[in-house]
Amino acid sequence: MSIQKQLLTLVQQNEIAANVYEAVLEGELVSQMTSPGQFIHVKVQEGSVPLLRRPISLCDVDLASQRLTIIYRAQGAGTKALAALQPGAKVDVLGPLGQGFDPEMKSNASALLIGGGVGVPPMYYLSKELTKRGVKVSHILGFDSARSVFYEEAFATLGPTTVTTVDGSRGQKGFVTDALSHYGKPDRVYACGPLPMLRALEVACQDDELYVSLEERMGCGVGACLACVCRTNESDTAYKKICTDGPVFRAGEVVL
């Protein structure tokens, strides 16, 4: 599976929650994107503003039509410019990057997928891949408020799904950890979301086989610049690069 740089075509773009956009991109490169948890590195427009690429997780991939879906929050200059693109626009994509989630589990094994905010998207592709393998999936999706919720029904078609919101305006009030009790002891837990959420899960799921996907500001996205490192417990100078060793790690492998 080789990393390439290619111009993909934006075929569709919708605002699916407050400031959250779903974009569908099409092109040959998509046939490389077989691993959920991997990400693409997007140069939103030509020229030097914004200068750097933006890392965005694969949310869904349709190999047959060579289309991928991403979901992202329009917050800063780059993602706002991305949100302003019209269908037909060409988007410069580098990818697929990073080590994704390992979806290989026994048929009938159980997996709990936990996403927080814009950590939810990669869980969707993962859930589909697990389901394909006969794994029983459940989902906890955490958001700020009802306005930010997306893909609830999509997840519900794959397996039991609990939505939590911090303000209680939709689903269960509270954090994803407040919903853990509904799901007993799954064979594996996968999570992606803000650092405080992942830290809480590391504690709450210490007896589980937990995989987490991390975020960090990136330069190159390919392991060369050392912008995105995190520490490991091995030594004072030991580290992992989120862009190439991750973004998915086994809990404990790196220091959160």
Binding site: I3, L51, L52, C220
Partner: protein
């Protein structure tokens, strides 16, 4: 067209090389193209001991630029010597080893060992890293300190020593002349400008290190000016860098007086930028009426000098 360049210790197939810290030790970009295509490689700064560097976040974006505060993270002298350099030897490409440290002794230690590696063709003395207290930036802004460090490293080294100049100084020419007199074989410039970005909501610095080094197209005018000034004032070659993205940028730096150029930030934007620039260079030279690099090297000030000469 022949786009090769001969510099002390370095026979370059072409004048394009990745800049230190923006290319690791080459492995990552070797997945995109053969490193043998490059003019040379400036590898990541090496210090005597392994270093973790600064906490994250380590990068932030700015208008046409980026800030970094990596903090000289590297696996340390022994590992670079025993693992990274031998790995690189599979490619037919000159290696310029960037060296850093806290004290003169550190620099000398790294220089001594790395310069005995059969895989190292030249050293790049980094006296300009803005991101660590001991990153040499004091050496880089005071001509006398720069000169004495250069002398010590030149004495310790088996290969030619290039000195990397800091732009965070009032008089880059003074530093350039001082290190030339101290035995530098060449100069590389510029390193990053010290800058910062604040988080919009909290008002706190985005970088864990608070400040960082500004690179990318935003700094090109400053870099070009310094190459222009320095290349006129010294008689050793200059490798220019700072914001190079396009083949026009390469032409500009050579016109300003550089003998070769290095590409930093642009690798992050386009991993293929170096081979693309190498491929585009012959045609670009033809366009400006040049048959080889030297035809336009320094033409910015050579033409002015001629104009002055004709007037008198």
């Amino acid at each position: 067209m022949d786009i090769s360049v001969s510099l002390p210790g370095l026979e370059l197939k072409n004048p394009i090389m990745p800049a230190s810290g923006c290319f690791g030790f080459g492995k990552e970009y070797s997945r995109f193209y053969s490193l043998s295509e490059l003019g040379a490689i400036m590898i990541k700064a090496t210090t005597p001991e392994a270093r973790f560097g600064n906490e994250t976040p380590r990068v932030a974006e700015t208008a046409s630029g980026m800030l970094n505060a990596i903090g000289l993270q590297n696996p340390g002298l022994d590992k670079v010597f025993n693992e990274e350099l031998p790995w690189l030897s599979q490619y037919d490409v000159p290696i310029i080893a960037n060296i850093a440290g806290k004290t003169e002794e550190d620099y000398v230690e790294v220089a001594k060992k790395l310069s005995t590696s059969p895989h190292v063709d030249a050293l790049e003395l980094n006296i300009s890293c803005p991101n660590v207290k001991e990153g040499g930036i004091a050496f880089g802004t005071v001509p006398e300190l720069a000169a004495s460090l250069t002398s010590a490293v030149v004495k310790a080294s088996n290969v030619p020593v290039y000195v990397k100049l800091s732009p965070n100084t009032a008089d880059v020419v003074a530093v350039a002349k001082a290190v030339e007199n101290a035995g530098a074989a060449g100069l590389t410039l510029i390193n990053t400008l010290l800058g910062m970005r604040l988080d919009e909501k909290s008002g706190r610095p985005v970088l864990a290190n608070h400040t960082g080094g500004l690179s990318g197209p935003a700094i090109k005018p400053v870099a070009l000016r310094m190459v222009y000034e320095v290349s006129q004032a010294v008689s050793i070659p200059v490798i220019g860098m700072g914001g190079i993205e396009t083949v026009q940028d390469v032409i500009d730096f050579i016109s300003a007086g550089a003998s070769a150029v290095a590409i930093g930030t642009a690798n992050f934007v386009n991993p293929f930028v170096c081979p693309e620039l190498i491929a585009a260079l012959p045609e670009a030279l033809t366009q400006v009426g040049a048959e080889r690099i030297e035809d336009i090297q320094g033409r910015s000030w050579k033409s002015l000098a001629e104009a002055r000469h004709h007037r008198t």
